[in-house]
Amino acid sequence: MELRRTDCELRRIVIVGGGVAGVSTAAALRSGGYDGELTLVDAGEFPYDRPPLSKDFLTGVKDLTDLALQPPDWYDAQSIRLLAKTMVAAIQPSSGTVELAGGKVLQADRVVLATGGGAARPPIPGLDDHRVHVLRTAEDAERLRSALVPGARLLVVGAGLIGAETAATAAGLGCDVVLVDPVSPPLTAAVGPLMASWLHEMHTRRGVTTVQATVEAFSAHSHGLAAQLSGEDAPRVFDAVVLGVGMTPSTGLAEAAGLECDGGIVVDAGQTTSHPAVLAVGDPTRRRVNGLLMRRAEHWEAAQYDGKRAAATLLGATVPRPAAFWFWTDRHGVHVEVVGEMAKATSAVVRGEPAEGGRFSVFGLLDGRVVAAAAVDDSAAVRAARRMIDRGVPADAGALADPATDLRALLRRRPEPTAAAVP
């Protein structure tokens, strides 16, 4: 990223939230030459990474210190004042004040909201039972882990990314897992129908029972927690339930400050909110591009890129152009990567054979260009595709479909001058 020193009067920046978006903002500010005061406020013990919460942290292979986003001495080395275990209670954009939960007030020239989100809790009767879990924080994961003993009967509600990962992890730990989702197969919009079915059927091959239904109610039962699934005569009984039904963006501070919110904190291409002194990054944000409100990204890398864009805005540097969304997910020992928006594609090209232990990918095409790709155990295919998307390289369906084609060579084809950006 090319950053110029800014000549404006920014001397005090406060970042609210120490997830990957907040920490990336701080890192990019320092590497871009910002030498004013930089404060990072986070509710947790120290800034940590979330993706392992449903994977190696849930199994216990990793502990919380393994999840630290930065080594402990990084904050001092970067002259970042880290206020951990601290909540921001309110921000006042017009006066530049950030109010901490204890009553202390910080002054800021600019505030960056990086508040992430919480696990969604749908209005299902009986949901407040202590055996019903969610998975967003390390505490959530620790609590859930203690319930995932071999033989435990676990109901996972929602078979999207976090639900599927959790079901796979629990099955690996020897739990008896039922995975319920009203949609079958889930994730079709992200990976297309072929890969969505293959991934969903993998649950069955690994001993997870998948049920296409909704959960109508939970109730206490003599042998556990009863869950009534739609279309079934009798409730099923479980030892624990985990909800993986999505995220609720943390927009409270933004809303109370009168910033424009609409299913997320609305930001422009440079991450600035409706108030020029407040920026917002990561999971709770929605970008407005050419008057159109994009959906929330809710992926790790997008949050990191938001941080880089926010830093560029604060430094008065060129803001990197939004790239196609990319994410990974791991389940049952396979590594899945996805880039772009498969739902936009009008045709799909399959490369390789879907098979246990094998690798395959799907490219989504629109108007002769790749707009999306998804791959099982073939990250190089997705890394090539993301460059094709970002550089607007014309697609050759026949060449893409042939596993013998070198995708890097396809990429070296001359891009057309009007490469379309994918927001």
Partner: protein, 111 residues
């Protein structure tokens, strides 16, 4: 002065890709990834990503960097400097020499 270990022919490493050399050959703690940049030059880094267990030799090599095949941590080819999260530690670089189309590795020597 050591002549290095002959580990590959230059043609064994396609442009933009990598090739892992086993630690039994290099005598190092980790395997070493030979990484061929888009300009054709060959560089060498410890093969295991400093973030999680993944082989950088299977990564995407382009414009002076290698991108990890798991979570896209990027490392500078010439000195192993980490370019951004999720990795926070640099990768260890090793010296490489190409002579007459053969790649020679100097494990543990700075490039």
């Amino acid at each position: 002065m050591s002549l290095g270990i002959r580990v590959a022919a230059l043609d064994d490493i396609p442009i933009g890709e990598g090739l892992a050399v086993d630690r039994s050959v290099t005598g190092t703690d980790d395997d070493i990834a030979l990484l061929r940049d888009t300009d054709g030059t060959v560089w060498a880094l410890d093969d295991t990503c400093t973030h999680e267990t993944a082989s950088l030799a299977e990564g995407w090599v382009e414009d002076g960097c290698v991108e990890c095949p798991l979570h896209t941590s990027r490392f500078c080819l010439k000195d192993g400097a980490v370019q951004g999260l999720p990795a926070t530690e640099d990768a260890r670089p090793h010296r490489v020499e190409v002579r007459d189309g053969e790649v020679f590795l100097f494990p543990g020597e700075a490039p």
